[in-house]
Symmetry: C2
Subunit: 682 residues, 2 copies
């Protein structure tokens, strides 16, 4: 039953197949108020003259121009004022030689008059008007139809309606326009395991939230289409056929994203093959192999891969341009930036690869040599003056966070097997509005730091642990890293900020700038009321507790390991013996809240965690010790906006450090930061 | 009563005044489906682990990793298959040593298993599974929370929600998000003379359609605000006060555009001064002097000028950025292009001038010297290799067509009195999506040509008459011009296309390429059934008819004048005598339909026009003669996309000419073009 995708279509032939489909929506008439962004379906000629009458361009007096000939400042002409005409009223007087009518800007020129003298060049004296200048026929008058005359071509077909075109249409009195119809896209979500956001999830039964229906719907709308949603269907053939046919009869294009279960893909495939026409079955692109293109009844059909990143990438690459075309929406302007790869990327699968990447602006004032021949990515440093660095974001196709951690894709052609560190690449941004983050950081997962990030505009921070932070800071990829003292594993001199910086630089093996730091209290998380009466680390080793640890990249785990080492030394045991007697020491989870959740749901008796997190989630905290955390920065990037903003936020929170101060003297407002229990300044 | 704006504020102080106002909308919660383009109001931490369970990344077999250690292709390990688990179902089997469970991608890893072997590295044999590779613990498994763990910072405040962020939110099960509220902008249209589009207009009473309410509403929405419309009010103080206060109590910002009538501006001014606070009263910008900025109750208030171009320019310059800021919408990317002025522009009013300009890409392959010292704009030729030319679009502030005929503005600082021809200027585009037209033409107003333009993508054509077309073609501003033979006023040799081109070049005094041409029948338009029995030109001179002519720039008028000259010669009279005896010879209107409309509404007995127009509008046509019309192109621009498209459209219509052919032989499909009565090929 499992469908194999053997003869993969080339990306070019998929584009062709999709171009051969008709996605055109039904023509629509929309009220002018809803017309912004739409595209005129047909050319529009002016139905009326604008202005519809000879119109005064200034406030003044409507005159017969010949009466004013020869008038000057010193030798004015006098005319009888025989009436007044305001904008929006019909003149009730005719102008004859020797007379004039006061007129407002925008008012109808009275019969007999053929020009207007602006008020500034006149004086009123006992009902007689002194005209101090001569005017030619037509002066200060906008003739009827002079702006646009009835019958003139006003706007051509295909004109995109911005506020300006809407202005012309309203001037013409047009209150409804024929616009290119938005292609209607039916979205079907398939797969037994999918649940709509907002509903209850049964994780033990493998349920996950439906992502693709939402990303694709948003993508369709951004491309100018409208979305019709069809109820989620499982892997049942009959039900799937019914929904597919219904969608095909109601929409111009039907999109389903195969769930990750092979069953759903197979069902769609069978319906298409038996009831419609299958044009493409698999495409030689990574990610996105399991793509279907076909026709069902009068609708086009595209099946997207199940993984969210794959589905959106394939949608953006192949489908969004076709929807934009059908909707007559413009192709976004250039959305590529060039940058240099921050690390080597290898690839040998022989398909076009759309590699999701993140961007970081080096913002450096110094140019360092790039060693593009270095054999190991982790030891090659890259830092190029003011350039954009490009790093792969590849957390596995199933990850949804890579949706937001990447800024665009780099195309790796099938015969490109490697992009070297420092190599120049072109990045297709996800949208023209994408900008690199103001500051990019990697490091320890810390709830207080996470709050500080809220005070920075467009930061990107990946809580991958202290070790990853050190590694990426050394490589020159990130601007900042959050690192625990346990990760540095040496004695630091912290009497002055300068000493601290020096000792950190020595310990890390590369120059670093310390922006801030604090201490945090860690320990064991146990259920409320501490049923096992855990009092400290010794109990973890001695009692029969199911324990949940943090992953090896976590600084907190390094601190735990150090503490166990000390405990073992006290007991004259081997550290490994201690570790072996902890049930679950290797059961590691990623984030600071995760062990607590295991304790809360009863799958563990104790977890590694911070006092602040324990307090927030209402479990018991058994203190073990404190550890120091440092916010380190790449010294070449301290002038980046985001780094400056972060530095400011650290200082405002009372945990900033700058080179001229001792760590303690930098502290000004501890409370705003250490309102969190278990936190303290250095 | 008339309000003077004497102490004009500087643009900088207006920006400051507007920045001091609070336009922030009320916070909102929106469903995820409506969240695209919105901006997160608060930071969002993951409420759940994603995935929520240890999840198989491939189809295969869930195993206890240690069971596979040592397995190779040649020396596989055999395990008992003791069950199956699909995506979306709860495992009902526990994996013990020696056993495995068939597992689908996305399914829950059963208890006891700690890795998955992909199906491709296995074989099934009588319910026993051969494992041909060894896997490490965790292999092919995405651990619970590995994508994002509960409690991790998912998205920061201020994050703009694109399809990607919406994907992450749906993965987290979030179905509703707190977003930055859209500022609510109340729009009040004022002025006795304004009528909403779609309603009946009384032109004789000076009524015009309301434009500003529509352009500003569209502009507000484009900037991220929502619009509340208030009923149109006239110039009544009490009513205006009531509406202003109602709008101020319901909105964050109230915008009114003064009608052109001074009365309305004065009323707004008095309400603001007496009931609110007036911060700015007049700004030193052209256009836009009569601008008001203030506060009324808790709302901000901005009064825009009345003329549509002025109102939208002031809105875009001062208000749109403030609305975008309040809505937390991004500032559009760079929207400036540099180009060279195609003609001199002088200005001496001492205010910042925002000069609306159009763009044309020269697309030339040759570089010609630019004479920037030339004293007359009309004789200076400019044509610079591949550069953008910039020409002022200044049809008077009251014109609405300049809304769509301009692409952006050039800022002329108060102390800049002149921009010379050829001078480099920076153009701020109206929006990032603005692109210069594919082809820019000026010339004769011709209904058949206007239809041809529908076949070209993004053309711009101004029907300013044959003379203007010749002038602008010579100056190098336009790509093409439509010119009647009467304007050229010489005998043309038309036997071959090359001869035609040569004789036109000689007659015009500059090199030109002829893309196409046709003849059109012209004459006198009279009411249906021809009540005055007009039979020809002589009757126009001899009978007492009220006539409507075309403007002097029109080629058709030149043709009429030539015909009158010939009539005068036959009669041995002076041409002027003939002209003087035509009542209304100087009453000129702009467009080809305009004279007909005068005849239709009874204000004229005869008008100058084309047979095709007469037929369409159901009046009687008295033929007088035919005239030739040529589509001429700048020889340096024939490789522009739009010129090529126009050339193709001409050929398809059977009226194309190329240098290798005789005009006649180029004609292939006359009908599609000359389906219009009175038209014929050359």
């Amino acid at each position: 039953m499992r469908k194999e995708f053997r003869n993969l279509a080339s990306p070019e032939s998929v584009h062709e197949a999709i171009e051969s489909l008709d996605l055109t929506g039904d023509p629509e008439r929309v009220p002018l108020r809803a017309a912004r962004g739409r595209v005129l379906a047909e050319r529009l000629d002016a139905p009326i003259d604008v202005p519809g009458f000879d119109r005064a361009s200034v406030d003044g007096y409507a005159v017969w121009a010949r009466d004013t000939f020869g008038a000057t400042e010193t030798d004015p002409v006098e005319l009888d004022r025989i009436g007044t005409v305001h904008a929006g009223t019909e003149p009730d007087t005719e102008v004859e030689s020797g007379a004039c009518v006061a007129i407002s800007t925008g008012a109808v020129l009275p019969a007999g008059a053929d020009a207007v003298v602006m008020v500034e060049r006149t004086d009123e004296r006992d009902g007689r008007i002194e005209i101090r200048t001569s005017v030619a026929p037509g002066e200060r008058v906008m003739a009827a139809g002079a702006d646009i005359a009835a019958g003139e071509r006003a706007l051509g077909p295909g004109t995109r309606l911005t506020p300006r075109e809407i202005g012309l249409l309203s001037a013409l009195g047009v209150s409804e326009v024929a616009v290119v119809g938005a292609p209607c896209v039916g979205i079907i979500s398939t797969g037994d395991e999918l649940v709509p956001p907002g509903e209850q999830l049964n994780s033990t039964a493998g349920q996950i939230y439906d992502v693709n229906s939402y990303t694709i719907a948003a993508g369709v709308e951004a491309a100018g289409g409208t979305v019709e949603r069809y109820p989620h269907v499982g892997d049942d053939y009959g039900e799937m056929e019914r929904v597919l046919r219904k969608a095909a009869s109601e929409c111009d294009l039907v999109v389903s994203s195969g769930s990750t279960s092979a069953g759903a893909v197979d069902v769609v495939y069978r319906v298409l093959e038996q009831q419609g026409e299958l044009l493409v079955h698999g495409v030689a692109v990574k990610p996105g192999k399991p793509m279907l293109v076909g026709e069902l009844e009068d609708a086009a059909y595209v099946g997207l891969p199940g993984y969210p990143v794959s589905a959106l990438t394939i949608f953006n690459t192949f489908l969004a341009p076709a929807i934009r075309r059908a909707a007559a929406q413009p192709t976004p302007r250039t959305t590529t930036v060039t940058g240099r790869m921050a690390q080597r990327e290898r690839y040998r699968e022989g398909r076009l690869r759309l590699l999701p990447v993140g961007l970081v602006e080096s913002g450096s004032n110094e140019t360092l040599a790039v060693d593009t021949t270095a054999s190991s990515d982790t030891t090659c440093s890259i830092d190029i003056d003011g350039e954009t660095l490009v790093y792969p974001v590849d957390k596995g196709s199933g990850a949804t966070t890579s949706l937001v951690e990447a800024d665009g894709v780099v195309k790796m052609h099938p015969d490109t097997h490697e992009i070297a560190t420092g190599e120049r690449v072109e990045v297709s941004l996800f949208s023209p509005a994408v900008r690199p983050p103001s500051v990019f950081g990697v490091g320890e997962d810390d709830p207080a730091f996470s709050e500080l990030l809220d005070r920075v505009d467009r930061p990107r921070y990946l809580g991958m642990g202290s070790r990853a932070g050190c590694r990426r800071l050394r490589n020159g990829v990130v601007d900042v890293a959050l690192v625990t003292s346990g990760t540095v594993s040496t004695t630091l001199t912290t009497d002055t900020a300068a000493e601290l910086e020096d000792s950190l630089t020595t310990a890390l093996g590369f120059e670093t700038t310390v922006l801030g730091g604090w201490t945090r209290e860690w320990g064991l998380i146990v259920p409320a009321d501490n049923p096992e009466d855990v009092t400290g680390l010794a109990d973890l080793v001695d009692l029969d507790l199911r324990f949940v640890n943090r992953t090896t990249d976590s600084g907190l785990r390094a601190t735990l390991t150090d503490a166990i080492d000390r405990l073992a030394a006290e007991r004259s045991e081997s550290p490994q013996a201690c570790i072996d007697s902890i049930d679950g020491f290797e059961f590691a989870v990623r984030a600071h809240e995760s062990p607590i959740r295991s304790v809360l749901d009863g799958t563990a008796d104790a977890g590694l965690g911070l006092r602040s997190t324990a307090n927030r989630l209402d479990v018991e905290f058994v203190p073990v010790g404190t550890e120091r955390v440092f916010v380190l920065a790449n010294p070449d990037r301290t002038d980046k906006d985001g780094v400056i903003a972060l530095d400011t936020a650290l200082s405002a929170a009372g945990v900033g450090i700058d080179a001229d101060s001792t760590p303690a003297s930098a502290v000004t407002d501890v409370d705003s930061f250490t309102g969190r229990p278990g936190y303290d300044r250095l």
